[in-house]
């Protein structure tokens, strides 16, 4: 399902129209929903979702829809992706991180559990390493930012089959479609030499592989075993280097297990929330 349709499903299911917010550097489409009527439901610490390259908040529709019944859920389409306006300047991981920070401030989110996929994972790692105060915990799903850059380039280049005029076709594997969440408009913009997308690709050069030991927030790592873009070894790297990280591997899943195995991912998010709430209660006692 293309990202645009996914977001429409999200919107129609949640019965809310897409809204836009002007952040200092860009106007972004966003969601900020949750239980407002039922006071028994816990909405103190919201979930915040950060999508990957070529995606949108709709990538998390199978998670956002059930979670929003019980929790406050917030998400934006990163500048230049989904329904958000383009950045006027160059794209970078730090620009994405700034957009997330600005949105958290604008939405008055003091603490959130971030769920981040692919490039969104790289953005969230950047935020965590800069000790962004609004992060309570991280859930990294097939996150970028910890790969070995040379291996990444080698892996992607192996999988590009051929290029047709006006289109890119992959004949081997699913790296490119997985990377772009099946949004072929992204490919078209690449072929049309959209400079902003080339700049976004440049952002993959930022890498936190050597710094992940500095992450101090509770972290859950969820990874599709068969990810052709960022191999599962990256998940073990995170598990082995981030203090007390919890790792789940989804057998048979590719780059986007939140789309292919939403029920499993949902269960793990709930387990994570229970662990966090339990830990906070113990601290209070």
């Amino acid at each position: 399902m293309p990202p645009g349709e996914r977001f429409e499903l999200l919107s129609s299911t949640l019965d809310s129209n897409p809204r836009f917010i002007w952040l200092p550097r860009a106007a972004v489409r966003f969601l900020d929903i949750g239980p407002t009527q039922n006071k028994n439901r816990n909405s103190e610490t919201p979930w915040m979702f950060v999508h990957g390259f070529g995606g949108s908040a709709g990538d998390f529709a199978p998670l956002i829809i059930p979670l929003s019944k019980e929790f406050r859920v917030a998400a934006i389409d990163l500048p230049g992706f989904g329904g958000s306006f383009a950045l006027e300047e160059e794209y970078s991981v730090s620009a994405g991180a700034e957009a997330i920070s600005d949105f958290a401030a604008a939405a008055k989110i003091e603490k959130a559990d971030l769920v981040c996929h692919s490039l969104g994972g790289q953005i969230c790692l950047s935020l965590a390493l800069s000790h962004a105060p609004f992060i309570r915990s991280l859930v990294l799903i097939n996150a970028a930012g910890v790969y070995s850059p040379s291996e990444f380039v080698r892996g992607i280049s192996k999988r590009i089959g051929k290029i047709n005029t006006g289109d890119i076709v992959t004949t081997r594997g699913r790296s490119i479609p997985d990377l772009i969440s099946d949004d072929r408009t992204v490919l078209k913009r690449l072929v049309a030499r959209d400079s902003s997308f080339f700049a976004a690709l440049e952002s993959f050069k930022e890498n936190y592989r050597g710094r992940i030991r500095q992450i101090e927030v509770p972290t859950v790592v969820i990874w599709g075993r068969n990810d052709p873009v960022f191999p599962v070894e990256n998940a073990f790297l995170l598990k082995e280097n981030v203090d007390q990280a919890v790792l789940y591997v989804v057998e048979g899943a590719g780059h986007s297990p939140q789309m292919s195995h939403p029920d499993l991912v949902m269960n793990w998010l709930m387990e994570h929330r229970r662990r966090l709430d339990g830990a906070e209660k113990n601290k209070e006692l």
Partner: protein, 274 residues
Amino acid sequence: MMRRFCFTLIAFMGAFNTCPALGDEKKEKDGDSYLEVQYEDTVVFESPSATSPIIRRLFVGEVVKVEEYARDPDGKTWIKITIGKKRSGYVPKSKLGPAGSLPERLWNPPVIVRDERPLAAGIRGLGELFGAGLNLRYLPLTRIGVTFSVGSVLDEWKMKGTAISGGLVSFIALENLSPMIEAGVSRVSYHDGPSILRVVSFYFTVGLEWMFRCGVYVNAGITYMRSMDVEIAVEWENANDGVTEPRNYGILGDIMQNDVFQAVRPSFGVGYGF
């Protein structure tokens, strides 16, 4: 007789067959059983479920210790294994197979005794001291250190002067028994009546040292010395009187030839390392 022979042979073969096969003893030590990882992508889960958190990955060939067996609701068999001393986890039984071999005994890392006892003090005899004295040495590096000795010059079992030396010492091997090389400078003073013979020498010692695990060491070697400076000091009164009688500087005097002092002497030492 033939029947007796056959019965004996059959009994013998039966007994042989009931003996544990060579290698079986190795797989069970004190009631423990071990299995070996057979497949890539083997991971250890917190509980017997593929959707539970992963504790760590295992690599082909790793030998794991089995604690118990468990089944999940789907009937799949899991094995609870120990990881280190404190943690345990679950691995699908299909990922493990019989362990090919086990270590016979616990691995004891080699001990480099001089690394553990870098500071040593003891008695040093002969060599560049021409007598006996106290020695102190310190090895800041595994093989190289500094040494310092101070003692008395003995001639015919009489104390005739003082000696002091210092230099670098090196132990070639990391074992308890090691060749040693020492090089440094010594200053020996031999008193004969009102005058003193002072010899500043370069010395070089090669030898062997055995340092026991408990810290006690003994060493023996050959020292070569060659003077750098020789002087004779005379008491002021005698100097004023112009007394220039030839002096007998004992063992040092015997060695002096053409005002050059050169000697090859045995040396030994015994002491304790801290």
